[in-house]
Assembly symmetry: D2
Homo-oligomer: 303 residues x 4
């Protein structure tokens, strides 16, 4: 039975990995068994530097978020302009990245990303999340995820190219996909919303389709370890890019905070959807950013 | 026979993925077949922010490189100090990362990272590597790597905790490990050098053990798609943190530039070594940084 | 007579300070003599961090430029959340700034900022401007400016609150202000355009008023050492935020490139205009960013 | 009489400018009257980018602080490599700066930089200093400083090139300089310590000379508005780069926290010392970084 108390005996008091504890050697072996074709798909959007790119703002992102910046500290242009090679002739390019993952990249949320009251997931004190990083439930605590992924392709179910901004996905939609969910699975939910970016930023920013609270509970009841989607917030957003749900029904509260289910957002799922596959090996390995609230990632589906 | 001309018919003129083209559905299926225990190991060092961390410089890194910086743009401290929750009570932590991957993090090199003359790997013009990023052979061209990994544990072979700074690994060492290498494998070479950090930065900076040129050629002849190591430059370094080899024998030139073999550096391989496993599923999924010379990564071994 | 050849005997071949060489002990003494009231006015816009500020985009800036980011690496919130004081009780706040000055802040352009062909101002090779910074004509070469400032208040002359986006300022406007210009003066030109921001970003981005080419020449003929204005590009801009002039008439080409006249842009001049003063001591001291193309600044008028 | 209670009637309850309120039209006029030669001296160290500079760490800085990073987003090398000019032929260089001012640059401290207990200078709540910046006593509250500067050249007084790391400056030293201090003056204290950098970082990091607590009180009693020095912390430092004084005698506590006297640190004073001038016009104009704990600055002496 579903317990939304955010007070888990099953994880143990000190736990910071949440639902990733559902992963066991058995689930990993079963996940590896989903590899049947040997095809590999990357599920991430590009990270496009905002400073000097000719097209800095052409990757889907939430309005007002600081875009990634990418700088070359030495490049081919320098050698063209006369920079001397190293030693007997070695040349090199080097660079730096400035990135705020939420809202601008395909990323995985840490369990410290959202909470209510004074406690993070599982009773960890929110006071430990400070300027030098999250002392509890940071993304460095998650570790790599190797699991069975299952795809809920809602636009295919509804016969549309992508959901509309105001569409919300209910339990019936998830049921309708006919996917068998097992404990420890990664639920990958396709809305198709990145396709809206093709009509311009304003179309994308008009709101976002997403899971309803009941659909979130449906997934939590089935003990998935991660919910991943191609929208920006798992739940839907209004045109101010905020969730309309109250605290009890907020998707981050239900999944991340109460159940310790990690969220992966802003995926690119179009090739996966075209593959027709609904189960596969899913791997996502967040950067070990100590105390990070998220990590930009390239999730992988192995079909 | 080994061709070091950097002029490959086999990849095709337009190719920017190099030896990753060796990966096929068959190699992926074979790699998945290496999962026998269901254990998952992350192979990366932590990313520790340099600005306010109490221990900013305690992760192995090359001297003089700009360390990662991690900033929280809102955190639990703000709420403790009176910041109001969002709406009915939602609180959030958000952050930003500034990272220069080479020399400071576990990272994967793009094929544009090093070259000689006016051409990158495979004849791509170095002039296309500019301030807005590498127009050719950037890390965004690599895509996720799902392959069979094979471990060459040189300290175990030699019966030492870790190699010494001046040790170089020869073909006989690789042969001596008794590992069967197949085309498309990821060669994971352990030197144990991160353990030298325990004796302080100066010990770590005294030089680094690494592959000799002949060992590099030995791997290239066997058509590995990636060489990954726990040292900083695949080859060895002297106490000025430079390679001693000339251009013909430089490991980056042999592997990355001439053969298009991607390099993953600064791994943490201690648990993998302890596992006793020499073949496994290896997954590394670089961030899709457009025009990037590298990506920080968390490589994964699935045993 | 005005020479637009960008080939100056008067500065000497090695010179990288341009028209700032017009400043002499005599001009400095005369400038100090303009202090008659003892009032001090700062002439800069605020620098507002974009990451977590409640109002990140509410300071005038050019569309699409990367906004400043400001991060606290330790703050009062951390102590509220339990961070221990240093030693016997010292607490501190520390921070970092990421800033791209052009188009986002009140800033001073270096002579390396714009050019045509292969040479910067005064024949310095453009090839020396590389990824590690401008080896010639960087902002570190400028040094502090202490000069007489003269105000051309064009909206006051025309009897409007601020100029319109399509307005261009001609020599007759400058003449009409009745200001006596001396060699080495800083010409401060008010358009009032920051006031357009009050009507929203779109109003501000509809274009910008600015100097016509002939007005630029009028100032160059009078040997001013700096032109400073409250618009973003000294010349006018169209609604794509570009100049309409050809190369010969481009204001940056006329002033910065051909005459070595430094430009200070995006000032806030409202209090200065209200003061009624047309001459004053003007001080601007760019940060010594080695090889920088600009520096964010707080110019000062002492009345 | 000196009041160290940090509870000032004289500034008023809402005040965030501290001792800068001592500046009046009269002090500004008197300061302008100090300009007698028309010479202008910049008093800052260079800001040298750490990423790709050939000499990143050759500017004095405190050990372990994140060095400035300077990136070019477009430069002359790009045009050499084939980047097309804008429109009819315009070329441009653009850049970004990442800077943590304390300990790495010539900078001015905000009144929010240090405190004890729960209150900043003048009773402002420390809880208002949060991740989005200091809501009270940020550097944006200071405004430009135009004042009379007076030089205390301690190495000249003692007949040494520079003070030793363990030297502390007492009231007798300040008296011995024979400088007449007036309310609202900027006290510029030379230790010569940047010269120690010529002997290498380790020499510089061996500690730092600085003001004793009694010397700090001597200056506070004379109502200076700013204390500026060429050391890193106004007071002295030990070889761990920390102050040895207790809370009551800490220089930041005495000057910044109790008296609201702004501090400018890490100046370059060698040319000023050589000038033989002990009074001059001093101008420092911090960037208006909203909520900033400091600003990098180029202070100016006009002789």
């Amino acid at each position: 039975m579903l317990d939304e108390s955010n007070n888990w005996g099953r994880w143990g008091a000190g736990d910071e990995r949440g639902a990733l504890n559902l992963l066991t050697p058995e689930t990993v072996l079963a996940a590896a068994g989903c590899v049947r074709e040997g095809r590999v798909l990357g599920l991430s959007l590009p990270i496009r530097g905002a400073t000097s790119s000719p097209a800095p703002t052409t990757v889907p992102h939430l309005r007002g978020r600081p875009l990634p910046q990418h700088f070359m500290s030495v490049d081919g242009g320098d050698y063209a302009a006369g920079t001397r090679a190293i030693g007997a002739g070695l040349k090199m390019a080097d660079d730096a990245l400035v990135v705020t993952p939420h809202g601008t990249t395909t990323h995985m949320d840490a369990l410290c990303h959202m909470w209510s009251g004074d406690e993070l997931y599982n009773g960890h004190p929110a006071d430990r999340v400070r300027s030098y990083g999250a002392g509890r439930c940071g993304i460095d605590k998650a570790g790599p995820v190797v699991a069975r992924g299952v795809l809920f392709d809602i636009p295919r179910l509804r016969g549309v190219p992508h959901l509309a901004a105001t569409d919300r996905i209910g339990p019936a939609d998830l049921e309708g996909c006919g996917v068998q969910v097992r404990p420890g699975d990664v639920a990958v939910v396709r809305t198709g919303w990145p396709l809206a970016w093709q009509d311009g930023p304003d179309a994308y920013w008009a709101g976002q389709p997403g899971l309803s609270a009941d659909a979130g509970r449906w997934l939590a009841e089935r003990d998935v370890c991660v919910v991943a989607s191609d929208n920006a917030a798992i739940g839907g957003l209004n045109d101010r890019q905020l969730a309309d749900e109250g605290l009890a029904d907020d998707l981050h509260m239900i999944l991340l905070w109460r159940h310790g289910i990690h969220l992966v957002e802003m995926l690119w799922l179009e090739e996966l959807a075209e593959s027709g596959r609904t189960d596969f090996l899913f791997v996502v390995a967040p950067l070990r950013i100590e105390g990070g609230t998220a990590s930009p990632v390239t999730p992988v589906a192995v079909l």
